[in-house]
Symmetry: D3
Subunit: 243 residues, 6 copies
């Protein structure tokens, strides 16, 4: 079984981190790799960044199909391009936000999301709605650290730990969902510090894809998620045409 984790931003160091975290939970029969988006922003911190990460995501899926990949993880908490990726891929595509939220929903009454910048909290709430997770998502909290400083700011770990603690107390929640793939490696540390389960979407989505493939589950070939109708594209994006 071949699973590919797509890092929707262009920062290779983050891809490496994600690959390590995904690999740590994947089963022995799973061949897992991670790829970096070939175009777009180095980190995703606005609707603009997210929208413009989507062509890179779709490009990665297209290559993955050529490589015979069985399932994909989209490793950015905005789940950029998820619907389009599902049309394109034959196998399952799972975003880390949907996987993390649905995983956390098995652990108790509700969870808090702890994310990077406050301006991305709205997107997390939109996704909670869309995935039917609003009743489980008791709050979205920002630690106001930019994505790329998660591993360079010397206080990052402390700041995130405090944000998690505050989130759990404020919301009365049973679990924390990490709102950024770049926090994946802090998961064990935070769990210990806070004393509640902490869910990393990269691990959750990797195992969700692995489970879907193990069950032979993939989207229906007809209807909304069938392959997109072939057509000619023009301009900068002409190579995305499927005509």
């Amino acid at each position: 079984m071949r699973i590919r984790v797509v890092n929707p931003n262009t920062t290779r160091a983050m891809t490496d981190l994600i690959e390590r975290c995904a690999g740590a939970v994947a089963g022995p029969g799973t061949r897992l790799d991670a790829v970096t988006a070939t175009m777009g922003p180095p980190s995703i911190e606005s609707h603009y960044d997210e929208a413009l990460s989507v062509p890179g995501v779709l490009d990665a899926i297209r290559r993955g199909e050529a490589d015979g990949v069985d399932g994909y993880v989209l490793a950015c908490f905005g789940d950029p391009g998820l619907d389009a990726a599902r049309e394109l891929a034959a196998g399952p595509v799972v975003g880390i936000a949907e996987a993390a939220m649905r995983t956390a929903a098995h652990l108790g009454r509700g969870f808090s999301v702890v994310t990077t910048l406050g301006r991305t909290a709205g997107r997390a709430a939109d996704l909670a709605d869309r995935y039917g997770m609003r009743r489980f998502c008791l709050g979205v909290h920002a630690c106001e650290l930019p994505v790329l400083s998660l591993h360079t700011d010397p206080d990052a770990r402390k700041i995130i730990t405090e944000a998690c603690r505050t989130a759990v107390e404020t919301d009365g929640s049973d679990a924390v969902v990490l709102g950024c793939a770049g926090m994946a490696d802090l998961c064990a540390h935070l769990r210990e510090e806070i004393g509640v389960p902490v869910v990393d979407g990269v691990a959750a989505a990797t195992l969700t894809v692995q489970s879907l493939v193990a069950q032979g589950l993939r989207k229906s070939g007809r209807g909304e998620f069938a392959s997109p109708p072939p057509k000619e594209y023009v301009g900068l994006l002409r190579d995305f045409g499927t005509g």
Copy 2:
């Protein structure tokens, strides 16, 4: 007051149609033009098409800002890139789906959406949810005509008329919302045939933007919809970087 209507697909004939329909309702003090996306798909009929129309939309907004445009209409019923466009533009940006649905909600208990291909119905339902219009949106109906055949198929008008009639009867709705910018010129004809109000999103959004500008209303400059944080982009999309 300068309003620009952005056609998210690359088909110029559709831009002309849209410009005519928008111009027909705009006030005397409004200077209105329509632009065609410079990249992407010739019509939007899948999540894939929609996702890949977004760079063209954002490119058009960026140019509009340089041109001193006061407000924008996104003239595709999937409202592609709306959140990102709002971050980018100083003035209001309104999608035709949100404008059409909110307009129709003033006319009675509920409306039916009549769209092109059935595979796009899910997106219309998602938008109804997101805009708080689920209780007004009583059904989404497809006439299974591809966008570009709306003006070439000799039976198109008849097929759409029938789809509207069926939708109103099935849903017991008070109005029809046209689910594609390419149907804008059929609005008056359908209203007469069906006997209920028919809302064209291009007209509705043009007047919504005009009203917002007349009231001096624009997004708050802080928080979720502030300008995206500047950063370097790479690869094919490098020119979208704002660093």
Copy 3:
């Protein structure tokens, strides 16, 4: 195009204020006037006041129909008698609460309503529900000033400004919706002070009606909002009979 703004209370000074604010945004082709309810309470600050303002509203609509009015604004934030007025009028009728909320929903993730007395907050929340705006309406805040003191209390402006500031901070909202027609003239001042968009329902509803008329949109003549079945009324209200 003739638009009439109905002040549901019997205070002429407030009608004058409303007329000025509506006139300031109406287009050049719009002939706009405002009328005062001929019966009922001088201000609307309870469910009781609101219920008893409705006969005055319906009387104003009936006269408007005789005068050939094309569309109506109901200028009280409780939108009193909206459904009944829609049955009675041939053209569109729009309440300032529905127009203000739907307008604000185009400006960001959510808004705060700032109203007069706390006892009216429940009605605002009910309307948010009914209009599908609950997900956009992040809070309703009272400044505890009676309607008629909005222009006589020397501290009114300061109190309202503070209430708006608190509302935005508490709710993390992107905009303020003014919860009383009597606040219409404070809109520009508040916007400047608070730094977020402030929506006045009188302006918003005037432009909504103007846009509906420009699109030729009016309720369907059949079904729930058809003219009420004719019948004899008795007692004090006998003149309201349509038999």
Copy 4:
């Protein structure tokens, strides 16, 4: 204990019927009477009728307070003026729609409402929403009989019986809620014919009020439902002023 049933329309024969049905279920310690609205429409079949029945309802409550009434039933399925009546009365006020729906919710998974004219179905659905009964209200069905023909049309009983049968089959519901006070006397007949519980709001509300009074439960004297602030009214409604 004194309970007064208010018939919001001006048709005395209907008041008699309502009084009989309410009296049939009231307890031995309950002194029950029914009053006819002194102003407004002879039957309520539109939003217009409903709005204009409210002054008559409030007039009846005012008289009831002078008479020392302990609790009130509003005997029209639109629950006209309920919020305002609650402000005015010291004791509980219950509408037949809210009582019927909440009573039926104790009987199974869901109920169907069977009402008179189709144009009133929207009001019933609005009330279901407002009372939190949307998940129990599986459908609203009209038999298209005007209120005043319920007892004059020789086929009325048969038509209503058929409407109930169809409603239960279509909705898969466990109970029928009668959507008009004028159907109260058919309750037993319908129950027998259809084989599912049939709830008459007049009986349900009478017993609900009786139970509330028995528990000493009445609205809080402060907040939204406190007595309306006193003020001078003008015009036709001047006598409704509380100043």
Copy 5:
């Protein structure tokens, strides 16, 4: 009319208390008794306790059917086994949580629930959802007193009074719903102290059952709540078999 109140826990003193409170509101024609569960936990303070109180509840219903009981109250705020009890009984079965919440919903915009241990708050919120009461249930507050200390802890009355006061202020609610049958006797005291209506579910449910029986209302004999299909049970529970 015979009504039986079932105490789902095994503590006789609590049954006595419940019987007194129910008897105090029942009508003169009602023959009321209370029974103690013959198996299970002495108090219900976890999902585990609640689940294991259900066999005792069903056993009590079975005996009640043999005794010709007309309707039942389940006197624990978790409404344990309600759906199963409805299948088993010919007459109505009402839980104190559903009765209390629906009763409180007639009194204003919303209520606060005050319960014993914080760990039971989630169950109360689940029930509010299931009964369509989420919009009325403005908060669930715990006083962190175990059920059996409600009448032994010398500070219990003071602690509960404070919890009610805090709940009403925090939630801005119009009423308090007592979240435990063991608080039934404090109802009058709390009402006086807090100054808002306080609803005891034991009284509310007793009167709800009495009203249902008075109206001749009982579940439909077919569908989801028909008698359970007969079958052989094995092991410890073999006597529950209905085969």
Copy 6:
């Protein structure tokens, strides 16, 4: 890693079937077994059966804890006793309904549930609500086959296949969720026949538990799902006491 699948009914043949289906998808490092409830009904087809299967489920969890089991599957589509089981177990407990619904939600816009008797459809809908899956659960369809005839009725396979086909067509769904553990072995057959993904909850829940354990995720030890407070139980259930 040790996973135990609990069959909440007492029919050993069904346990064997479930164990086979769970074992077919479990990873190589997973030691999996299935146990049969030691008390209660031979199949679960009513709220009564479901409620009385819970003691057997909890007994199985208690034994599992003694055996050092790492996680549990509850293999009945009503997810009986899930909350109580979560309190009791140190590791994750997952019901087949929640796992199946959340798994299917990754595959498209929505799924249909196909269940055994129509009287159980309400429970499935309740669970969809509780798990936040209502927007994905487009319909619940019964094939009206008793659980124990799924493998004895010669037409069972054909009847279920037809029910699935009808469900997908009626609901316009992207997937089928099997509403009974006893259908687990039909999954592959149905997928082929119907042409859409078919989700078996036994497989889905087994992999969900395996994934949770692999991530080291278990409920928080405090709050609602902490171990139940110890207490003495009496009567038939005295051995369930934890005092």
